[in-house]
Each structure stands twice: as structure tokens, then as C-alpha cells.
Amino acid sequence: MSMSLAALVPSKTSKSLLVALLITGAAVGSVGGVGLYTFIYARGGSYLTNDPAACANCHVMQDHFDAWTKSSHHGVAVCNDCHTPHNFFGKYLTKALNGYHHSMAFTLDNFHEPIQITPRNRAITEQACRDCHQDIVDAIDRFHDPDKNISCLQCHDSVGHQAD
């Protein structure tokens, strides 16, 4: 378990963040309870499906949904293809983590706007690009340590969300 966790959670910081979140959730029962309630009522359960429209259940996701419908990947990738790891465990852990975090944020209404992707989720998205495009990027990355890989998003940040 610890090994697979390390594989799912890219950095130490986000790992301890995860642990902290889980502990906080358990210890502070009332907050956790509200979070759970929100999760259900605000159809946080939509995190568990692959339907992009489900993400847009939260109106704060509407813009991203709209922008996705105009993007080059509209026909080839849904939200989860880019925003969750491409393995079973990681996928549902990430969903749970994000689902919990976003439900809390949505309820407390205290998040930064415009919404910004977290470093952890950014890394997951980068990995998603690499998974699908393994072949084509091989030439440009094969000569480097994985931590010296060039960031896809530096040039292609709009593939999933095209503005207008």
C-alpha cells in the first residue's frame, strides 16, 4: 500500500497533505460530516462517474466545461482522462481527495478565483498527456531524467480548455 501510495502521490508534500486531510476529516467529525453531506447533496458523487456533464454539476466548473467543449480534445478525452491518474487505485483516490477538497471549498466558498490547478493535479495532468502521447513525445524526452522532462503544459495549456 505504501508503495502504491507513493506512486500515486507525486511529492512528499502532497502526501503529507493527504494524510493531514484524512486525519482532519476523521477527527473533526462535524466538518467531515458537513463535507460528506455537501458531497452528496451537491452531487459530489458525480466525481465517481466519467461523465463530464457531471463535473459541471457544480456551477463553478461550468466555465471549464464550456471551454472543454470547444477544445481540441473534446472528442477524445473527458475530464477524468486528464485529471485523474491512469490507473484504478490512483483514479479513485484522486477522485475522493479532490471530491472532498472541492466539496469543502464549494461549501465554505473560500477558494481563489479564478480557480487554479494545484501542483499535484498539474503533475497528474502532465502524466496523462504522456500516457496518451507516449509514442510521439518519445524523441524529445528520451534523453532526459524524468525530472528533467519538458513541461507539455508550457506550450499546450489550452488543449483541454480552449477559450472562445
Binding site: V34, Y41, V60, F106, T107, H112, P114, Q116, D157, A163
Partner: protein, 428 residues
């Protein structure tokens, strides 16, 4: 919990039509009953917060009979006395302050000392009050006629016809809430501009896109202007284009001058707040980014999005104003703007020093007996150098709206000052 429930409700009812609005409803408080978010924000334009080069700072003062204001903004003349020399003999050399929020526009115009040293016409009101209803009343239903009548009134008389600073009705159709241009100055100016580009009979209210309107409503006032002829008709000098040198060419052709410079005798021009013109030369306009995108960005109020009617410096609201398009940290975006502004300010200061040199030299030559003939070319250079410099100086973004274009204009200005100095040398 409650908050989620409320939001689900809100999303279904973006506003409640509490009162009926008509084309005569001037008071924004009444509009505010239907649109409380917009009205609340609109009222916050009283806030005074300084940025490195913009915003405004609250300077306490002792109210007097003539001027009851207890708070004004910084005097730009005290900050930079070279401005007094640049405008010698003109009302601006008496009083010129950092501009502040829309809430102050009427009182700041009424009480500026510029009113005491020169008789102003009713034309002034066009951009400092809600004039839509008053114009229509004066014109018996005809906006343009009302405009013409008020232009020719003395300021004191015109002032009594208006009540509010710019209000909802000046930018919105009360039935549909769509944006509209209500200012004759802009309607005529943009028509002339479009005509010069081969587009006849242009009318923004029927022909502009929604995104264009999000800048045109601001272009109603944030523009260079002059009072044409004895009727003092408000005119936007866009007949040859919107660039500073094109506007100068128009003034040169028509032989217009604002005043005669007290120290040098040059026929001088004053440029004022050409935000619309400069923005038009920048990369943002070219990319379709409107004034409202940065100065009235969308903000979320519960489940729906509203335009922030607290019109102000975007640097006081970087996350909403810039981060929707630029995914850099706030501190980085602020630094980018300030770097652009610092560079502009350095160039502006260089051009200003050169102008001071030129004015000083013309003055000295005059005093030592040079004839008007001898001074003619140097004075023409001063006129040009001064207008171009003032165009950037008066533009309120300190170069941000079009950094390279501002620099180009300052280069032209500096070169005219240089040539003026050379001309004196040749003729002496």
C-alpha cells in the same frame, strides 16, 4: 449548507424585477433595487487607494465656502512642477490632480480651481454627469439638440441641470439592460473615424458587437477632445485616425490651438485622457480585450456572474482582472505592469526635461529680442513636442495600455524638442 441551497435558487433567478425602469429613470438607487450587486459595487467608487502610478490617495483639506470638499486627491503639479511650466498661461497650471473614482466626477469638476481662472462652457458636463435625461429634456426629446443647447450655456447654468455622476442610464438601455452609447461626442467621433476608413454612417448602437460595446461605453469619455468653434461643440479629433501623430496632424491642419504659451509664445495644445485612443494601439485591443474586461471584470456573486461595477485600477483586483487570461502569480503580474510603467516614466521624464530646455531657450531668445520670425520654427516644435508628450502624460495607464506606442510617441516628442533647440541655433 444554506449557502448551497441559496445558490441553487439564485442561479434560477438572476435578478428580480422589483421596480419598472424607464428611459427617464435617472437615479441609480432606483436601478439598484433590481440590480443590487451592480449598485453596491457602483457605490464603492468612492474608495481611494493608491497604486504605484494610479489609483488615488485621499488628501485631507479644510473645506472652504468656495470648495466644500474635505478630501481631494494628490496634486500632480506639486509632484512635478515641470507641468506648471509646460502649461504656463493655461488653467491646468493652476490645478491638476490625480483622477479618482466615478463617484467624484461631478464635484471634482465643479470645484477644480480651473473653474476659477477660466470661464468654462456647459460642454464640460458631457463627461462629468449623467446627462442623458437632461439632454433629452433640453432638446424636447432630441438628444443631439439638447447636447447643442447645453454646450452653449455657461457652466454654472448647465451645472444646475444635472444631478448625478455617470449613472446606469448612461450606459444601459433600461428595458433590455443592453449596453448603449448615449454620448453625442462619441457617436459623432466614431462616425468620423469609421468614415475615414471607408465605413459610412456608422452607428455603434446598431452596428457594434457586444465586445466592442464593452469598450465603447468607456470611450464615451476617456478620450482626447476639443471644443470646436464658437458653439463650443464637443469634438473628438479622430478625422485622420486615433494615433497621437494623426490627431496632431488634424490640429495642425485646422490651425487649432488651446492657448498661447505664457513663457514662449507658442500656440500650444493640451492633450487629455486619451485612454481609448492608446488602448486601441495596444496588443490587448488587438486581441479583443475590452476596457470592461480589466476594469469591470466578472465576479461571482453566488451562482451567477456579474460585472464588477466598482470601476477602478485593475492592480487593485489582479486575480479577477488578469488571472483569467494570464496564469502567473499576482506578484508577477504586478511587477510586469510596474516594469512597463517604470520604463514609460523614465522616457517621459527624458522627454519632459528636453521640453523644459526648449521652453527655457525660446523664452531666453525672446527676452533677448528675437523676432517672432526667428522663433517660429522653435515654437512649432514646442507645440508638437508638448502635445505628444502630454498625450502620454495625460493617458492614465502610464504606458500600460500600449507600451511600445507610448514609447514611439515620446521618441517623436523628444525629437521635436531637439529640433526646436537646433532651430533656435540656426536662426540665431
Amino acid at each position: 449548507l444554506i449557502s448551497i441551497y441559496e445558490r441553487k435558487q439564485e442561479a434560477k433567478n438572476p435578478f428580480f424585477r422589483v421596480v419598472e425602469l424607464t428611459d427617464e429613470t435617472e437615479d441609480p438607487a432606483i436601478w439598484g433595487k433590481n440590480f443590487p450587486f451592480q449598485y453596491d459595487a457602483y457605490q464603492r467608487t468612492v474608495d481611494m487607494v493608491r497604486t504605484r502610478f494610479g489609483g488615488s490617495e485621499a488628501m485631507p483639506r479644510t473645506p472652504t465656502q468656495a470648495d466644500p470638499r474635505s478630501v481631494v486627491s494628490e496634486s500632480r503639479l506639486e509632484e512635478d512642477p515641470r507641468l506648471v511650466t509646460m502649461w504656463a498661461g493655461y488653467a491646468f497650471s493652476k490645478d491638476f490632480r490625480e483622477e479618482r473614482g466615478h463617484a467624484y466626477m461631478l464635484e471634482d469638476q465643479i470645484y477644480t480651481e480651473r473653474q476659477q481662472v477660466a470661464k468654462q462652457p456647459g460642454t464640460c458636463i458631457h463627461c462629468h454627469a449623467s446627462v442623458y435625461v437632461p439632454y433629452k429634456k433640453l432638446g424636447g426629446g432630441d438628444l443631439i439638440k439638447g447636447f447643442e443647447i447645453m454646450n452653449q450655456m455657461p457652466y454654472e447654468e448647465a451645472k444646475a441641470k444635472v444631478t448625478h455622476p455617470v449613472a446606469c442610464i448612461d450606459c444601459h438601455d433600461p428595458q433590455t439592460m443592453e449596453l448603449r452609447v448615449t454620448r453625442p461626442g462619441f457617436l459623432e467621433g466614431i462616425k468620423a473615424l469609421k468614415a475615414s476608413q471607408g465605413i459610412p454612417d456608422y452607428d455603434p448602437n446598431t452596428m457594434a458587437t457586444r465586445q466592442e460595446m464593452r469598450s465603447f461605453v468607456c470611450g464615451q469619455c476617456h478620450v482626447e477632445y476639443y471644443f470646436k468653434g464658437t458653439e463650443k461643440r464637443l469634438t473628438y479629433p479622430w478625422f485622420k485616425g486615433l494615433k497621437a501623430d494623426e490627431i496632431l496632424a488634424y490640429y495642425d491642419e485646422t490651425g487649432f490651438k488651446d492657448w498661447t504659451h505664457a513663457e514662449s509664445g507658442a500656440e500650444a495644445l493640451k492633450a487629455q485622457h486619451p485612454e481609448f485612443e492608446m488602448w486601441n494601439q495596444g496588443i490587448h485591443a488587438r486581441s479583443g480585450v475590452a476596457c470592461a474586461d480589466c476594469h469591470m471584470p466578472y465576479m461571482r456573486e453566488g451562482a451567477h456572474k456579474v460585472s464588477d461595477h466598482h470601476v477602478r485600477s485593475p492592480l487593485l483586483n489582479i486575480n479577477r482582472a488578469c488571472q483569467t487570461c494570464h496564469k502567473f502569480p499576482e506578484s508577477e503580474l504586478k511587477e510586469r505592469v510596474e516594469l512597463i510603467q517604470e520604463r514609460t516614466f523614465q522616457m517621459r521624464n527624458i522627454a519632459m526635461d528636453a521640453l523644459m530646455d526648449l521652453i527655457g531657450e525660446i523664452k531666453a531668445s525672446k527676452e533677448s529680442g528675437a523676432t517672432d520670425d526667428h522663433l517660429a520654427e522653435a515654437r512649432a516644435c514646442q507645440r508638437r513636442a508638448q502635445f505628444l508628450l502630454d498625450f502620454v502624460e495625460a493617458e492614465n495607464s502610464t504606458g500600460f495600455h500600449a507600451p511600445q506606442e507610448a514609447a514611439r510617441i515620446l521618441t517623436l516628442s523628444l525629437d521635436h524638442s531637439r529640433r526646436g533647440q537646433m532651430a533656435l541655433r540656426k536662426s540665431s
